[in-house]
Amino acid sequence: MSQNDNTKPNGNSKKPARTGFRLTRLAQKELKETLRDRRTIVTLVLMPLLVYPTLSLIFKTFLLSNAALFSGGEVPELRVVYSGNVSKAEADFVFAKIGERVKFIDDKSSGSGGALLRPDDLDEEDESQSIGSGLKVDDLQPEDVGFPPWYLMRWQFIPPSANPSLAEYVEVGEADLGIIFDLNDPTRKRLGDFTIVSRQDPFSLAAADHLAKELEKANLADREFRLQMAGISIEPVVNIGRKLIGETVEQEAPSAFPLASLVPLILVLMTITGAVYPAIDLTAGERERGTLETLMAAPLPRVGILVAKFIAVLTVAIFTALLNLIGMFVTIWVFQLDQQFGGGIFDFRVMVQIFLLLILFGAFFSALLLAVTSFAKSFKEAQVYLIPIIILSLGPGLMAMAPGISLDGVNAVVPMVNILLLARDVINNEVVLVPSFVAVISTLVYTYLAICLAARIFGSDSILYSGDGSLVEMFQRPTRANVVVPLAATLFCLVMLFPLNFLSIGFLGRLPAETTADLSFRYGMMGVFTCLAFMVLPALVARHQKTSFRGGFGLKRPRIVFLLAAVLLGLSLWPLVMTMTEGWHAAYGILFGSEKQEQWHAKLIETTSEQVARIRMVSPFVILFSFSVIPAVCEEWFFRGMLLRSLLKWNSVWKSILISALVFGSFHVLSNSVIALDRLLPSTLIGVMLGYLAFKSDSIWPGVILHSLNNGIVVFLAYYQPALSSFSWFPGEDESIPVVWALVGLAVATTGVLLTRFAGSSGLPEKSSNATIESGEVL
């Protein structure tokens, strides 16, 4: 036919272009496609245009009503007394300077050229008069009032030697604040020191805060001030000290709105908004439109396709972040909200840092979104999955807004919380190096993990071709008997265990804990809950899945050698665990500073000793059952029985053992009502031991022995600690374990492991090839 038949490129001879180049093209195409979609543009451009002005109006209303708490809607009057070696002119100048920087009240309307701070009309001879008399109150027009906190400030000189003294004026409430000037610097290179005297009631404290802030600003910025007072100097003009007098008064109203925490939250939520649509569109949407299969038929690695999509989603997220950042700053500037941030938010460096944090967060969340949306088969399904995720992510977001929470310890590694706290610290200029570093690194790690997960799910044939009813099918009863519980059913069990665990902790916490009978009942109930959650629920699921207990939970009688190994390990692991915990404490100190470590350690000791005191009230038999035997049997039943055996069916041995151990470890972290991260490593390690033992022996019974011995020893060491302490060889309550103990423990434990290792496998069902569609491809 056509003459160029022979000149055409032939599939056989073509050189494959570099994968990197092709992936770049792929990312470009994804981006082009996304950006041409008008719906993307809506979230990208329109949202920031609408959201921030709306939000700022809400802020304004909120802040006004917040300020009204002080004065019932009136502009609060702040009565200040001052003292020290300062002339009236100098004092007026300082106060006026502060006022100049505040500009809360329109100059013209107040009529006296001053801002909100107005010099009083008293002459020098009036100085000794008590304040509150002879002061003229100007009329304030409500519409002239700007953003709170603002004050109508009056000041009055009190001579240092006067009686009543300045402090007494403040204390009895004749004045709200006192300022003591100390301008005694003979060189006059610096102005001197200010001491602000305030009562400990909300109004006085807030006013002191406000004044201190304004003084600091005046201090930093006002060159003219320094020139006039003392000539050019590089020293700070003032030092501001604080002195509190009187009783602490419970604060009734929030003195300042945590805007610095709110800004990152809003930006993060907006960044999420930008990434959601492209993430769904490029994964579930592509499957729905039928282009995914075509793409999978192209000679590109699946991971590569996903990475290209990730880049596209991230780019949109970054665009969104940038536009939102700009929108927010413009709004803050236009609506004069910057006073709420101490002005620092307009620092270019701060903006760049926040933008970088948003990119980091955007990367993490884009990867997470892709992992979730890759799992979905349609747009609708993806939305169903994403809504709970976004609502759940509000949790850490709000948590990060709580006052007093800081970027350290667990917070530094909790996704989203760490970035939000870091952004808040950036705005407040309070960045601490090590936790910030931990926050950034951990977010990068989460991003990587989320991409790996997404790559496993994305375009896998089970997602590409399975029907839409997979969630329902998970709950269907199989027609044939299963050897082990199917993984989907086990995962269902696992998911149910988390809320059950929290519920039982909460329920137990409400039980009385006064008398011995109370406590015995409580520990008895604890055993009942453990049984219900870890034993009865899995048993019911196994029955439903037509799985025999013997096979599904590994109930067969083990060989004696494994029992022996279990006894050795059960007797020897605890000193190792305790040493490890101490190591973790030390590492915590290095990471987050010794002060944090001591605080945390003190808290830990407090909760532990409280627990121990309760345990000692109860009979040792109750303790034996509820802390050693029941948890050992029930937890082995689920973690090494159901979970490990299900995992082993579709995964390699070590992967299964590690996953089951990590789940086991996480449960122990959550089982204390306080999140105790120090239990993660030791518990996971014991989980690995237990998993290995269960795998080799093909039975949970050796694990039950190990587990109950280990638990029993730890709890009874605490129980009989007072009696044991009378022996000179026994370490005291706050002493660490002797090195010899740890070494002996290590030796015995090693013997146990070697015994297990060389005992020969009992042949637990290993990874089998005939995996089903619903199988553990994902895990």
């Binding site: 599939g11 195409k29 000679p299 099918e473 569609i773």
Partner: protein, 251 residues
């Protein structure tokens, strides 16, 4: 060119076990069009997906130009042009952009892509809409674009799964004519279709599938001898109505 060896695949949908392919083997030589035919749910699409390496077979393997699709999926994909009935187009790209994008993915240079687009748009009559956004195209235009997309890298092997689905008579005619051209150019082609008259004309050999099993195989003459029916439509009806093959156990 194409060698299919004992491909088997079973799906589990909840309590049901669906055998989509049971030990299916066949070969397709260059210049041959192999018609993989069968009623809906016979397992044809599963076969094609396994051949291409999109779906992992439980047993057996497919080899294309010496590469096994389970071992070297990327090599196999490079040799194959794949058109499926479900193939969509990128609605926010134009036809030319989409072809260009796939050309680059298959490793063509910009010049090569341009030449190929010119050729293909002449043969498949794309020139009227190739610069239009794909969202605005008709079904027939989309399907032609899809075929052009699969051919952009001029692969030696074509796998066509219902390439004429939803097309009118003229639209299907364009596609079948082009399949003739491809055969003349020594391509190996596997064709799945329900347009039996055209299949009868265009295919050299057939494999009739039913419930995951290949029940009849050979040239049209062979089939006529085996069944005593003169054309494919009759054979089909016979196949479905009488279910005259050993029924596959539905567990």
């Amino acid at each position: 060119m194409i060698s299919i060896q004992h491909l088997s695949k079973t799906f589990y949908a909840g309590r049901r076990e669906i055998r989509a392919a049971v030990d299916v083997s066949f070969d397709v030589a260059p210049g041959e069009v192999y018609g993989l035919l069968g009623p809906n749910g016979a397992g044809k699409t599963t076969m094609m997906r396994m051949i291409l390496g999109l779906l992992k077979p439980d047993k057996g393997y497919a080899e294309i130009a010496g590469h096994r699709s389970d071992h070297q999926p990327d090599e196999v994909k490079r040799q194959v042009g794949f058109v499926s009935a479900a193939a969509g187009v990128y609605q926010w790209l134009t036809g030319r952009e989409m072809l260009g994008f796939f050309g680059e993915i298959y490793g063509l240079s910009e010049g090569e892509v341009e030449t190929r687009i010119k050729e293909l748009s002449a043969i498949l009559d794309l020139s009227g809409f190739i610069d239009q956004g794909c969202a605005t195209l008709s079904t027939g235009q989309k399907q032609r674009l899809s075929l052009a997309r699969a051919l952009i890298h001029d692969p030696p092997v074509m796998i066509l799964d219902e390439p004429t689905l939803g097309l009118d008579v003229i639209g299907s005619q364009v596609i079948f004519n082009y399949i003739d051209i491809l055969r003349e150019r020594d391509k190996s082609i596997i064709l799945c279709t329900h347009r039996l008259e055209q299949a009868q004309r265009v295919c050299n050999r057939f494999g009739l599938m039913h419930k995951g099993k290949k029940v009849l195989t050979g040239s049209l003459e062979d089939l006529q001898k085996q069944t005593g029916k003169s054309d494919l439509v009759e054979m089909f009806i016979d196949l479905i109505e009488n279910d005259n093959v050993a029924p596959i156990q539905q567990v």
